[in-house]
């Protein structure tokens, strides 16, 4: 992945997570991964298009997803969530949307033209993401609610 793409995603993820959870966020060490990977339980995915092709995936356990969604919904007049219901899923999807949207905006200011596709969310036990032939940058974030991995795969259209 181009070096210039990395910081916008890291900064956006850090900033948005800090803002929506209103708690401490710690960035883990970045690394690369290319093998298929087990999903922790909840995966929100957003496609990237434009000069590039790729996707951003937020991966976390169901427990973390419920806690993060609760933090996002705190103060709004909705039933507190104890499991990942429709509103919970919508919250996590929106989280992915905000992070990716902000990163793409930052990249745009650097001269890189990216477009987004609407997000999707997958939940389930023993899921595995197998996009072979793709190398992903993993940005691990430690929250009070648990760990979220932002998994970014972008490649240039040649």
């Amino acid at each position: 992945m181009r070096v210039e793409y990395i910081n916008p995603f890291v900064e956006a993820a850090y900033g948005i997570l800090k803002e929506v959870t209103r708690g401490e966020v710690k960035r883990g060490e970045l690394y690369l991964k290319s093998t298929s990977m087990p999903v922790l339980g909840v995966a929100a995915i957003i496609g990237l298009a434009g000069d590039v092709e790729g996707r951003v995936l937020l991966d976390m356990t169901k427990d973390t997803a419920v806690k993060v969604a609760s933090a996002m919904l705190d103060g709004m007049e909705v039933e507190p969530i104890t499991q990942l219901n429709e509103m919970g899923k919508a919250s996590i999807t929106e989280l992915a949307n905000m992070i990716t949207g902000q990163a793409v905006t930052k990249l745009h200011n650097l001269g890189f033209k990216f477009d987004l596709t609407p997000p999707a969310i997958f939940t389930g036990d023993n899921m595995e993401i197998a996009d072979t032939g793709v190398e992903a940058l993993i940005v691990p974030m430690e929250l009070e609610q648990g760990k979220i991995e932002i998994n970014v795969a972008i490649r240039e259209r040649n």
């Binding site: 070096v3 990977m37 072979t132 190398e135 993993i138």
Partner: protein, 472 residues
């Protein structure tokens, strides 16, 4: 490139990530603190501590000694020193494969205190490095031999090695039950040895030592010591320096090893590495010219000499192991100079995030750069940087070359000192990918000391003073 090695080192320090497939990583994470020579006995894998092994030997024409236990095969003249030879298979009651007459037996010469003893085994395998913490205590199910001779067992590369207790096998004090007989044996062997060492005739009953046979064994065992040390070094380089010996660097490695042996002998030191520092010392002459800095005018000329006269309108270049980007910028300038009318696209990558992150914004002082580059740089507030036409031609990527490589077909691949820092099977698959991605007659530049490619597929560029191949 050294940054690849640096990255490899850093990767190793990283906590393993979740998910499967980490077994290999875990094995690599451990430090090798125990080396053992492995061999087979009755179809099973055994090992002894390398510190107990003086050398690997072939025993041909040793002398039978009468009135000794059946496992004492005889005595052997090792460069003037007479040692007794024990057949471990007989000692342990294992089946003995009959060798054709006169064929040399495989064995090891073990060092036990001040004494040397030869042991015959089915075949000697190699040197295996392990972490001693992984040695499991002896257990009766491990082998076909008496548990008292086993000091432990260890699994490595899917093979279970039974580690033998050399003291117990050869030591007198621990062999209480056999003591009387053993003493007698030793006494006999001792007497015989004295007789043989002297100029007197061999005692009656002993076969005559075939002249020449012992001499041949002597040379062979010297050769074996050379190979043993080499195999030890080859084993240590990956764990100490993340350098992986292979056909690609074998030519350099052997030449360097010869030189290293001489240097070490002169300093009265063992050839084997005592620490990672020594492995790095060993590798110092490996690095290619101008590693980690801008190419000097001489290297630029050497590179230009292998470039084709014409290339396509768009010249594509792949530069893995780009580190901080010095090599990629050098390449961009040389190619811009050589093909001023072509569009240039360089894919430059490294798996060391810190190094490659600095590459797009590399700044420097004009006076630190040879004149050659001056057409391609612009002044900044404090420092100079490369002009847009150079910068914009390079895509710097954080990328691991062993992962899928999404690059188009290439005119040129420059991968100096990259392959040698990949595991052997990865070297092969990356090289295959280089082959697949290169256009017909495309140019592959490897490190100065990475010369061993398959000649059926790669043609070395005639007269080149850098390592340059053309795809056949």
């Amino acid at each position: 490139m050294s940054s690849r090695a640096e990255a490899a080192r850093q990767n190793r320090l990283r906590v393993p990530h979740r998910g499967g497939g980490n077994r290999q990583q875990n094995e690599e994470l451990e430090t090798i603190d125990y080396k053992m020579v492995t061999f087979s006995l009755g179809g099973k894998d055994y090992a002894v501590d390398i510190l107990k092994v003086k050398e690997i030997a072939k025993f041909a024409g040793f002398t039978f000694v009468p009135n000794t236990p059946p496992y004492v095969a005889g005595v052997f003249n090792l460069r003037g020193e007479i040692i007794s030879i024990i057949d471990l298979r007989i000692k342990f009651g294992l089946p003995v494969e009959q060798r054709p007459d006169r064929e040399a037996e495989c064995g090891l010469i073990l060092r036990l205190n001040d004494m040397m003893i030869g042991v015959i085994v089915d075949s000697v395998d190699r040197v295996v490095g392990i972490n001693s913490a992984r040695i499991q205590p002896p257990h009766p199910i491990f082998g076909d031999i008496n548990i008292k001779y086993i000091s432990g067992a260890v699994e490595k590369n899917d093979r279970l090695y039974i580690i033998l207790d050399v003291e117990r096998i050869l030591g007198r004090e621990s062999e209480q039950t056999e003591a009387p007989r053993s003493e007698r044996t030793e006494g006999r062997v001792g007497a015989l040895a004295e007789a043989m060492a002297g100029s007197g005739p061999a005692p009656a009953g002993a076969k005559k030592v075939q002249p020449g046979a012992a001499g041949a064994a002597e040379i062979e065992s010297g050769q074996d010591q050379y190979e043993l040390d080499l195999s030890f070094i080859k084993e240590a380089l990956p764990s100490y320096a993340q350098f992986y010996p292979s056909a690609i660097n074998d030519h350099w490695l052997r030449a360097r090893y010869d030189q290293w042996r001489r240097e070490r002998a002169a300093a009265n030191r063992e050839a084997q590495f005592a620490s990672p520092d020594e492995a790095h010392e060993f590798l110092k002459p490996f690095y290619s010219q101008d590693t980690g800095r801008f190419w000097c005018p001489e290297l630029i000329e050497l590179f230009r000499a292998v470039l084709p006269e014409r290339l396509r309108n768009t010249v594509t270049v792949w530069n893995p192991g780009a580190g901080k980007g010095y090599e990629s910028y050098s390449l961009a300038c040389v190619l811009k100079k050589s093909y001023p009318d072509s569009t240039l696209k360089i894919w430059a990558s490294d798996n060391d995030l810190l190094s490659i992150s600095t590459a797009p914004n590399l700044v420097f002082r004009k006076e630190d750069l040879p004149d050659f580059y001056h057409d391609f740089i612009v002044a900044g507030t404090n420092r100079h940087s490369f002009a847009g036409m150079i910068k914009d031609s390079i895509f710097f990527e954080y990328h691991d070359i062993t992962h899928p490589n999404a690059v188009p077909e290439m005119d040129i691949i420059v991968a100096r000192d990259v392959l040698s820092y990949l595991r052997a099977e990865q070297q092969a698959s990356v090289l295959q990918e280089f082959y697949d991605k290169l256009l017909e007659h495309g140019l592959l530049i490897l490190g100065d000391n990475e010369t061993g490619l398959d000649e059926a597929r790669w043609q070395r560029v005639d007269g080149a003073r850098i390592t340059a191949f053309r795809k056949r």
